[in-house]
């Protein structure tokens, strides 16, 4: 009963806010603005999202970018694609937008009024075109079963600390081979779900600082990373952890598989870490501009397209910036 009332309130808020929604503005230097996530579609189409509702597309492996207009001006923090057409992006003010044409056009699914503060969403994950989860600040957790037509609040109170409350949920990743969905967040928060997010269970954490990302490598190891260059690797699905020496105090934001057992990690202050052994050891590289790096994708055989504090940059596989 309470649940459906909440939903009704939500719906009315959504309708209210739709009337107020403002489109993103086309900007000359959108590719130099704060960009927080990037996704690669089949056929190498790239989609980057970031502040002011900016969404940028590239059809030539990141050499040039074109901005598409979205129905929001809120900062977008994460983007995910189910296939080469359907994708979702989430961000501040609980905004959720959806595309059905590979990022060319976007429709608003969920956004609250501009005038009131709502917690931000930080990651989004879909198991298929219908079923998805979005997580964010202060334990915000939304789920949908109809491709984002309706989103439902899910209270994850049981995952919180009784004294502290719920942490910020920063990252989701799915181990498809073992059907394990992982979630990581503030203050060493780690949890796992074995039923695509229906039920969650906390995991023992190797670290009390925040995790900004959780990821599963192609060879099946689980890695969590975050504050002040902390990186942990588990070969047994989170039962036990090994801390990896990074020689860096730059917080790590994301991990990317770049072929075989090679991994790249993206950190603030322009630090990149590279591993040749599935993350058992890493080498840190300071990139020239020292701009904070958020996430990247690999295009072609040897190019990393990376988004971050000052927009998009391209690097080679040793962290050297590629200047066009």
């Amino acid at each position: 009963m309470i649940h459906s009332l909440k939903l009704l309130l939500l719906l009315s808020l959504t309708l209210f806010s739709m009337a107020h929604a403002a489109q993103s503005i086309e900007a000359q230097k959108a590719d130099k603005s704060l960009l927080l996530d990037i996704a690669k579609l089949p056929e190498d189409k790239l989609v980057a999202v970031g502040e002011r509702g900016h969404v940028l597309l590239s059809d030539n492996q990141g050499k040039s970018w074109r901005q598409v207009i979205t129905p929001t001006r809120s900062t977008l923090t994460a983007v995910t694609f189910v296939d080469d057409k359907i994708g979702f992006a989430v961000g501040h003010q609980q905004v959720i937008i959806k595309t059905a044409d590979g990022g060319e056009t976007w429709e608003l699914q969920f956004e609250n009024s501009e005038d009131i503060y709502y917690p931000a969403l930080f990651d989004v994950w879909f198991s298929d075109a219908e079923k998805g989860i979005a997580v964010g600040a202060y334990g915000l957790y939304l789920s949908t079963n109809d491709g984002g037509e309706n989103w439902e609040f899910v209270d994850q109170e049981s995952l919180g600390d009784p004294d502290f409350g719920l942490p910020h949920f920063y990252s989701l990743d799915y181990d498809s081979k073992k059907n394990r969905l992982y979630m990581a967040g503030e203050l060493g928060f780690l949890a796992v779900s074995e039923d695509l997010g229906e039920n969650w269970e906390s995991l023992e954490s190797p670290y009390e600082g925040s995790f900004f990302n959780v990821g599963v490598t192609p060879s099946g190891s689980l890695q969590v990373m975050g504050l002040r260059g902390h990186l942990f690797r588990s070969a047994d699905d989170g039962e036990s952890w090994e801390e990896i020496e990074t020689n860096s105090i730059a917080s790590i934001n994301n991990m990317l598989s770049i072929g075989g057992s090679q991994l790249a990690y993206f950190s603030v202050d322009g630090v990149m870490l590279f591993s040749n052994d599935d993350g058992m050891s890493v080498k840190s590289v300071q990139t020239v501009d020292r701009n904070g790096l958020m996430n990247g994708v690999k295009t072609g055989i040897n190019t990393l397209v990376v988004v971050g504090a000052k927009g998009i940059d391209r690097f080679d596989m040793s962290g050297q910036k590629i200047i066009q």
């Binding site: 000359q28 704060l34 202050d269």
Partner: protein, 772 residues
């Protein structure tokens, strides 16, 4: 007044009591000399800016709180390319101490790695941690200690600000008060500049591995003043060349000395009057005495020419002088009045430095009316000419006859048509290029100084090695008290800033919202996903609490918050792009909460100056042309004569603008007056030639004949005048100051071409207009 009546008047007034007249001039000259000796160099910043311009109201309103235009930066470069060594840190420490002790410096705001306000903050597991970048235990001889400082520099984000991007240099920066807060005296920028230069000399000799680069308004003023001192040498050179030329021209020492003497008297009077009126002299108006001297000599030459011819014709000195005085009084007066009026049109320009220039130049020229139209002939009447003098003059005249014949042929109708056609073509081509003339400064660095000056090299070094732009325009966001804790206000500023950030001429932008977003991310463990403006008042307030008001991004009431726009250069089109974007944005996005006021910062001042210069350009030109046209109409009572004089003048004006386009000289505070000066002085030739020619024409002679006779009488003097004036100003071309060089080039061009216009185009036009 009829010529005979004027003759009597002049004779009775000036020549009957020559002794009294001379005594009067002597007394006044001594008095003026006394006043002139008290002349002060006055290099105030505010004189250079259009104070009445609306942008400058914003500037003046916030100047005290935000300062900014008066910053100094001392960069220490380690020639080895790496600053992390004991000797460099020793030098940096010494440099910091020296900068703190500069007169009129805002001591708490001095910043370098060694100052206590240089602290780092880093995100750690249980919140934020911070400390001074150079800890108390710092030991420069210890590698670990140096490494710790290097890490702190990175943590504090001082790379690009206090340390060069490639760690090859470090910076000491500070603000200079315009008025000393204790003594309440106006800051002596030249003393500040000297203190800075001393730091450079001392440290570079003590530390051979360290090279200093110093920039800032005070340093620039110091360098400009030093450059302006070179002016005295130019004056000396111009004086000597002129003296030699006058002698070659007049064949008589007496005739050479007297016009030089009276012209110097004019300069003394002018400088004396300036002091009496409470003006000082600045690097721009320091050129005016030159001009006065050159104008004085050129008019003096007309006088000695006339006297010499009269003496050669057999008259006594007294009669010859009296006749020459009467003969030249009206055209001389008209010419000098038109100069004066030409200068006075500069009062249209709402920039004090130009107005002062207008007043000082007008005074100078008005003084010449007294010294060279009255004092000079009176002095000449005492001159004694040797027996050979008349012969020399006649011989000289005969030698020139060939040239005059050739020149006079321009007045033949067929040649005249060709000449006029060529002139018309030049005018059209000139107009085409003149159209591209740019407003404002076209080159990087301090435009007043040469591109290869030490100051501009230092500027280039600092902008290259550090992420600090010196080309900043800041737009003041004015809102309610505590506006920085209101999300809507902050969001409005942020959107505005982003709009400007996207302009092609903008390199980067900075405002309190930039800091607020970064700090908000800092509060959430440095996670970039939190790099947004906090929405709630208390979080906003918290995000700003760590920013000091001395950062210059908001005032103590959080009501005024400048948006700093760093432009890629200060070319006029870049400035215009920003200004137009601000105006468009304001009209498309009106906000009741926030008003964005143009403009502060060095480029803001330039924007206002450019607009004032652009707005004044046409009124000034129209003013100066109306003035000379009216004067010609009054003195010749003929439209045809007026056209003969004005058309060559106008073509030269157009060509001067084309020259500016070609030489990449922008229309600035320095070059705008040149146009008025060039027209005002350039008209003199035409007036002197035409006043003679018209007499012959009215006697029924052909234009060709009339012109030939005129050249015989005054051609020498006209050529000579053109050359004297051109030499007087051409020495400026070698000035250390770019704007003086620009003025020198343009004035030389205008003086020479106006002279050519008067001897070539004027007779050609006359022969067309006065066809029978």
């Amino acid at each position: 007044m009829q010529q005979s009546a004027l003759n009597n008047f002049i004779n009775n007034t000036f020549f009957k009591h020559r002794g009294v007249v001379l005594f009067f001039f002597l007394i006044v000259t001594v008095a003026m000399g006394y006043f002139a000796s008290n002349l002060k160099v006055d290099a105030s910043f505010e004189k250079n800016i259009p104070l009445e311009h609306p942008y400058m109201e914003t500037y003046l309103k916030h100047e005290a709180e935000f300062g900014g235009a008066n910053r100094i930066m001392v960069a220490l470069e380690d020639t080895s390319g790496d600053i992390f060594n004991a000797s460099f840190f020793d030098a940096l420490n010494k440099a910091t101490e020296r900068v703190v002790s500069i007169p009129s410096i805002n001591q708490p705001q001095v910043q370098s790695l060694f100052t206590p306000n240089t602290r780092y903050i880093e995100v750690v597991e249980d919140g934020l941690e911070g400390g001074p970048v150079i800890p108390a235990t710092f030991d420069p001889s210890n590698q670990d200690s140096l490494e710790k400082v290097r890490k702190n520099v990175l943590k504090g984000g001082f790379v690009g600000r206090l340390v060069a991007n490639d760690f090859s240099a470090a910076m000491v920066s500070g603000q200079i008060f315009s008025v000393d807060p204790i003594s309440k005296e106006k800051t002596d920028f030249i003393a500040v500049a000297k203190a800075l230069e001393d730091i450079r000399t001392d440290l570079e000799s003590e530390f051979p591995n360290v090279k200093l680069h110093i920039i800032g308004f005070s340093k620039m003023i110091g360098d400009i003043s030093a450059g302006a001192e070179g002016v005295f040498m130019f004056f000396g050179i111009a004086f000597l060349i002129t003296a030699v030329l006058v002698y070659l021209y007049s064949h008589s020492i007496q005739l050479s000395v007297l016009p030089l003497l009276t012209s110097v008297v004019a300069v003394v009077w002018q400088l004396g009057l300036l002091t009496v009126m409470g003006f000082g002299i600045d690097p721009m108006s320091i050129l005016v005495p030159f001009l006065v001297f050159a104008i004085g000599v050129s008019h003096g030459v007309q006088m000695i020419n006339a006297v010499g011819k009269n003496v050669a014709g057999g008259a006594t000195s007294l009669d010859a002088s009296c006749a020459a005085c009467s003969r030249l009084f009206i055209p001389g007066m008209v010419a000098l009045l038109s100069d004066t009026i030409g200068f006075l049109t500069l009062l249209f320009i709402e920039i004090d430095i130009i107005r002062e220039l207008a007043i000082t130049a007008s005074i100078g020229v008005a003084v010449i009316i007294l010294t060279n139209l009255i004092l000079l002939p009176v002095l000449l009447s005492y001159a004694k000419f040797g027996s050979g003098f008349a012969e020399k003059v006649t011989k000289g005249a005969q030698r020139q006859t060939v040239l005059w014949h050739k020149l006079a042929s321009f007045a033949r109708i067929r040649n005249a048509k060709v000449t006029v056609a060529v002139a018309a073509l030049l005018a059209v081509v000139g107009a085409y290029f003149a159209n591209d003339m740019k407003i404002g400064d076209l080159h990087a660095g301090a435009p007043a100084l040469r591109a290869d000056s030490v100051y501009n090299k230092d500027t280039a070094y600092i902008t290259d090695k550090f992420s600090i732009g010196t080309d900043v325009i800041s737009i003041m966001a004015e809102t309610k008290v505590d506006g920085c804790t209101d999300y809507t206000v902050m969001k409005t500023i942020d959107d505005f800033q982003w709009h400007l950030h996207n302009l092609s001429g903008v390199q980067s932008t900075l405002s309190i919202t930039t800091i607020s977003k970064t700090l908000n991310s800092g509060f959430f463990e440095g996670n970039l996903k939190w790099k947004v403006l906090p929405r709630e008042t208390n979080t906003l307030a918290q995000s700003i609490r760590y920013v000091e008001t001395s950062a210059g991004l908001f005032d103590k009431d959080c009501q005024f918050m400048p948006v700093l726009v760093f432009t890629k250069d200060h070319k006029a089109e870049t400035i215009e792009q920003v200004i137009n974007a601000v105006k468009d944005y304001k009209s498309n996005n009106s906000s009741e909460l926030v008003d964005f006021k143009l403009a502060m910062g060095p480029v803001g001042v330039m924007a206002a100056t450019n607009e004032a210069v652009e707005a004044a350009q046409y009124p000034m030109l129209i003013g100066v042309y109306i003035a000379v046209i009216l004067l010609c109409l009054i003195s010749f009572r003929s439209i045809r004569s007026t056209l003969c004089i004005i058309i060559p003048l106008a073509i030269v004006s157009i060509l001067a603008q084309a020259l500016m386009t070609w030489l990449e000289i922008g229309l600035t505070v320095a070059t705008l007056p040149v146009i008025a000066l060039g027209v005002g002085i350039g008209v003199d030739y035409g007036i002197y030639i035409f006043s003679r020619m018209l007499d012959f024409i009215r006697n029924g002679e052909s234009i060709n004949e009339a012109f030939y006779k005129t050249l015989n009488l005054t051609g020498n003097a006209v050529f000579f005048t053109g050359i004297t004036l051109a030499i007087g100003v051409s020495t400026w071309i070698f000035s250390a100051l770019q704007f003086q060089a620009d003025m020198g080039i343009l004035l030389t061009f205008m003086f020479l071409f106006n002279m050519l216009g008067a001897v070539i185009l004027l007779p050609a036009l006359a022969s067309l207009f006065y066809r029978r």
